[in-house]
């Protein structure tokens, strides 16, 4: 597969494990982001 056109769109991404890790990272990021808004919403109102 690498011999033919390695950058071709039809060739599957050569690093499937990395894709899984990257998506896990994104999930952690989103959870931490939401949690912090939750914590913020519990303090006094200020503007």
């Amino acid at each position: 597969m690498a011999e033919k056109k390695p950058y071709d769109d039809h060739v599957p991404f050569p690093a499937p494990g990395t894709l899984v890790l990257a998506l896990m990272f994104l999930a952690v990021f989103i959870i931490f982001y939401i949690l912090n808004w939750k914590w913020l919403s519990m303090v006094w109102e200020v503007k």
């Binding site: 690498a2 950058y7 991404f13 050569p14 690093a15 499937p16 494990g17 990395t18 894709l19 899984v20 890790l21 990257a22 990272f25 994104l26 952690v28 990021f29 931490f32 982001y33 912090n36 808004w37 914590w39 913020l40 303090v43 200020v46």
Partner: protein
């Protein structure tokens, strides 16, 4: 003169032609960097042992002095000396060309050295207990600012030599087409450095004039705004340099090759355009700035610099995975990961730096820097925890990993005590992760940064943090000791190898 072949040697490992005068400059800058991390590490231990309430080592005045010195030593001197070495390496060595203007390289080095010594001396004799940020109206001795200015101008000369070398190499036909990805990333770091140093000059020069009495007033929010263009952007130089080093270490350790050059180069380009505005996130709960200004800048312009980091987060492990799969580790999703050279300190440092920077530093940075969330994070220990996961766990660990290759490639010595070197990145990175997470958690309870005594003895109205906070602060102390030991091993192995390691001919 510079083109004489006797000025070059050929590296037996990589085949690169190494310009010997450049090699000397790389060595001296790298050694100075290691001396500064040694000093900074001793100060780190003193600071951590003081903030650990059960130990509370230093008296208040010495604590604030040590903290000022620790911040300046690590954030400015250690990383920038190392980066200047990295820039000479990334230009002259990686392009197998001569470093343009060796004399200026020495001038730059001597200015940086003199400036750093001047600033350190001023802090240590107690004339600059103002912290790294040195916000006026707190005033330090003029030599404090003058030292930083000298240092910055020296570093600027180093950056100019980098660009001159890259341009000259092309003109002399040493390479054609595009730069390698690593040199490209370092070029982005150098561009960010020029902007950063300009910001530093723009604020430190007036502040110096103010400290000697030639200016009557420094506007507080203006100082904060321009200072952070220097103070934070200097850490963005680190980011770009560190990511370049990740690519470099992935190549050196497992033979990784970027999966898609376009993808990785686009990400670097995003850094150049968007990362510097992020220094605004220091100012989210400041007066004198409008809400749209805060949102636009703290949001890195639609978070495009964050997108850039997340692109590298895919590209670097992907390049490692592809290289590993080519070696036959193709079973399942993760056999390639299991079969990585974990015993190689260059590799483990790269992975630890990568995971720590992304998973801890990056996430906390983006979230804590959000305009509104800054209300519950600003100036608390959550911030201190955040930037220790980026600058220490990320940048410093990556630089440490690279050192294990700089020693044989540039110093032509074997790495001594390989067993110690093998555990060093693990010990250092895990220690930093422990104390940083403890800091972030304690900061969530409102523990302030840069604070000598959270038991508030002697304060008019005492109150007590919850026992959880004290537990977290003890965990911080233990993590810090572990990290400092890891750092000490780094200094031991590096200095030992450089001076006493077996020579490689």
């Amino acid at each position: 003169m510079a083109n004489q072949t006797s000025d070059f040697r050929t590296c037996p490992t990589t085949g690169l032609k190494v310009h010997l005068p450049a090699q000397t400059l790389i060595r001296i800058n790298a050694v100075t960097a290691v001396v500064y991390i040694l000093i900074g590490g001793i100060l780190a231990l003193l600071v951590a042992l003081t903030r650990w309430p059960a130990v509370h080592l230093l008296p208040a005045d010495l604590f604030y002095r040590a903290l000022t010195a620790h911040g300046v030593t690590m954030l400015i001197f250690w990383v920038i000396f190392f980066e200047i070495a990295g820039l000479y390496f990334g230009s002259a060595v990686l392009l197998s060309t001569r470093l343009v203007g060796i004399v200026f390289g020495w001038v730059a080095y001597l200015m940086m050295l003199a400036g750093s010594l001047m600033t350190e001396y001023t802090i240590l004799i107690g004339q600059a207990d103002v912290m790294f940020s040195a916000y006026p109206p707190l005033k330090a001795h003029p030599l404090f600012y003058l030292g930083l200015i000298l240092f910055a101008v020296g570093a600027l000369i180093g950056c100019i030599l980098f660009f001159a070398t890259v341009i000259m190499a092309k003109a002399e036909g040493k390479y054609s087409g595009s730069l390698s990805l690593v040199s490209f990333g370092l070029a982005i770091a150098a561009i960010i450095a020029v902007v950063t140093i300009a910001g530093g000059a723009a604020i430190l020069i007036p502040t110096f004039l103010w400290s000697v009495g030639l200016l009557s007033h420094i506007d507080a929010p203006t100082y904060r705004l321009v200072f952070w263009l220097f103070g934070h952007s200097s850490q963005q130089i680190n980011v770009s340099a560190m990511v370049s080093i990740w690519y470099l270490l992935a190549a050196l350790t497992v033979g990784a090759k970027p999966v898609s050059e376009v993808f990785s180069r686009t990400a670097f380009l995003f850094y150049a355009f968007f990362i510097n505005v992020a220094s605004a996130h220091h100012l989210m709960v400041d007066p004198a700035l409008t809400t749209p200004w805060k949102i636009w800048n703290t949001g890195y312009v639609f978070h495009l610099a964050v997108v850039a980091s997340m692109m590298h987060a895919l590209a670097i492990p992907a390049s490692i995975e592809v290289a590993q799969r080519k070696k036959g580790y193709v079973h399942g999703l993760f056999e390639w990961l299991k079969k990585c050279p974990w015993e190689n300190p260059g590799f483990s440092a790269m992975v630890l730096s990568f995971c720590g920077f992304g998973l801890l530093g990056g996430i906390t940075g983006v979230v804590f820097g959000t305009e509104q969330i800054a209300i519950v994070t600003h100036n608390t220990w959550r911030i201190t925890g955040h930037f220790h996961t980026t600058v220490v766990l990320g940048t410093t660990t990556a630089f440490m990993g690279l050192t294990y290759y700089v020693i044989p490639l540039i110093f032509q010595r074997e790495v001594m005590m390989p067993k110690l070197a093998m555990i060093q990145p693990w010990m250092f990175a895990i220690g930093v992760a422990i104390f940083s997470i403890a800091m972030i958690a304690a900061g969530g309870y409102g523990v302030p940064r840069r604070h000598w005594d959270i038991t508030f003895a002697g304060a008019p109205y005492g109150f007590e943090f919850s026992p959880t906070v004290f537990l977290l602060m003890s965990v911080m102390g233990l993590g810090a000791i572990m990290a400092v030991l890891g750092g000490a091993i780094y200094c031991l192995v590096t200095v030992g190898s450089v001076f006493f390691g077996k020579k490689i001919s």
